[in-house]
Structure formats: C-alpha cells, structure tokens
C-alpha cells in the first residue's frame, strides 16, 4: 500500500518520506523474522541515510515531478506479465520453514555447528560475514568506497555556466516555469 502511494504521489518530498516509512516497515518485518542484523541495516540505511541523501538531492532539484502525459500500456503489460510469472514461480518454492529445504541442508548446518567452536563468536552472522565469507565482505567494503569515489568524481568539479549561454537556474521551489537547463549540472 505504501509502495502504491509512492508511485502515485507527485510531490517528491512526500515520496521520500513514504520511502522512509516503507523501509521502516521492512525493518519491522525482518525483526519479526528474527533477522536482527538485516533489520538493523534496513532501519539505519534504508530509513535513515538514504532518506537524508534523497533530501539532500531534493534541495538541488525541483520538488514536483513533471506531469507525464497518458499511460504507457506496453510497460504496464510487461510489468503485469513479469509479476504474474514471478508469482507463478513462487508456487514451485518449497514451503517456508521445512527442515529439508535447501537453505537448511546446504552450508547452514555446518555454520551452525562449527562457528562457535571455530571462532568463539556468539553472533553467527558476524562470524560468517567477517571470517568465513571475509573476501565477500571486503568486496562490499570496496563497493562502498567506490561509491564514495564516484560521487566525488561527479560532484567535486565546481558547476560551470553552460557554454550556450543558458544560466543554470536554480529551480524555483514549487512553481512550474523554467523548463530549460534546470537539472543538468555540467
């Protein structure tokens, strides 16, 4: 329901807030599923940081979305077919929580039985992330670092006025004029 509201709403500020609510609800869902680490991440990253970053971007962009004319029926059809196929595929999944599911018989039991005797670390998630799957986690850290580098590369250059003489106007708060040269930075 929140997701539908996000798609419907034209006010980007409200959409950002709805995204935060959506993340918080997901975090609550993860807590119900006993996934404390994931819930903590979702609450901190989804509801906190990404909302703040979106708001920081909104300070630069305009507050209201451009009205798009009409509906794209082809896109709607593609979305519906993909969704239907995915729902059909879930029928093949084994029932949630059965003891002989692949998630329960693959490497899971090995971690559950050995992680404490191997590491002496009570939080199994930390043991798996930082020790058994250490190289993966290092890759993630490098991904974060690369994201920082990318933003730095894009935004460290001071904005210039366009060659063609179009002044990069700061878009007015919530009026609808100024169509040219509003968002492109360079």
């Amino acid at each position: 329901m929140v997701a539908v509201a996000i798609v419907r709403v034209r006010d980007l500020f409200a959409a950002a807030m709805l995204f935060a609510i959506y993340s918080l609800l997901s975090a609550a869902l993860f807590t119900v599923l006993d996934a404390g680490d994931v819930a903590l991440t979702e609450a901190a990253v989804g509801a906190g940081i990404s909302t703040i970053l979106v708001l920081a971007v909104l300070a630069l962009a305009r507050r209201f979305e451009h009205p798009t004319g009409g509906h794209n029926l082809l896109a709607l059809a593609v979305v519906f077919i993909t969704g239907a196929v995915l729902i059909y595929a879930t029928l093949d999944l084994p029932e949630y929580g059965l003891p002989d599911n692949p998630a329960q018989v693959h490497v899971g039991p090995h971690y559950i039985e050995h992680s404490y005797s191997d590491m002496g670390v009570p939080n199994m998630v930390a043991a798996v992330l930082a020790s058994y799957r250490s190289i993966d986690t290092m890759g993630e850290a490098f991904v974060i670092f690369t994201a920082g580098l990318a933003v730095f590369a894009l935004l460290s250059v001071r904005p210039r006025r366009r060659e063609a003489g179009i002044v990069p106007r700061r878009p007015p708060r919530d009026s609808e004029d100024s169509d040219q040269g509003d968002k492109a930075d360079e």
């Binding site: 990253v45 906190g48 920081a56 630069l60 939080n123 020790s131 974060i144 730095f152 001071r158 210039r160």
Partner: protein
Amino acid sequence: MSDNGILRVVARFLIPLIMLFGLYIQFHGEYSPGGGFQAGVVFAAGWILFALIYGLEDALKVIPQRAMYVLAAAGVLLYAAVGLLGVAMGGRYLDFYPLLDSPHAAQQLGIITVEFGVGVTVATVVMLIFTMFARRKSEWKAILEEGDEET
C-alpha cells in the same frame, strides 16, 4: 534551522547517544546484531544530524573533508592489510588463525579489526557523500549570484 532552540537542545542530547550506540554496535557486533556496516551508518547519521542543526561548516570543523578521504581509504586498506598479514604469517589470504596462538583469540582479533575497517570506511563515505551534495547547493548559489552580477 540553527536558530531553533528545541532542535538544538534535543540534538545536543541525542547526538552523543547516537554516536555511542554506533560504537556499541561496532564493538559489540560479535555478541549482538550489528557490525561494521550498521555501525558506520549510525555513526555517520549522528554527524549528519549535527551538520543539519549546526551547519555544514561547523560539522566540517569536527571532521574535515580531507580526513574523510584519508579515513575512507584507510578503512578498506586496513581490511586488506589484515588479509595480507595473514599471508605474511603463513596462512591464506584473510586467514585469521596465524595471527595469534589461540585460535579463538585470533579469529576474534581478525573479525574485530576487519569490522572496524568496514565501519570507518562506511561512516566516512556516507559523510563524504552528504557533504558533496550539501555543498553543491551553496556552490550553485554562488554561481547564480555571479551570473546575476554579469547580466
């Protein structure tokens, strides 16, 4: 926003708690949910709250931008260095067992160090991205004023 008394008082009360909680989930990560990623984000959130209330310039006095570049790189390098240290002491890459004699202590040392590296990188990268976006607006304003003078 900085002249709002309620915000200032509440933020002054909350920011230390947020940062303390960030450090808690950093270093208590092996016992309770948490770890480097979450801790870095929470810690950065405390700093961003400070920047929102007291202004970006004051916040950059606390942690200058240059320090962010250095720390962001230092975090991942710390991670990689721990891996190489394992190789140098006779194990495989990112193998923590050779670090200390007791296997449990070695693993815990490795995990804590590695998570600390992740936390430092995540916190500083988030701060850096926020700084970049927040600064963009003032740069843009300066350009606009320049343009107004010229025309």
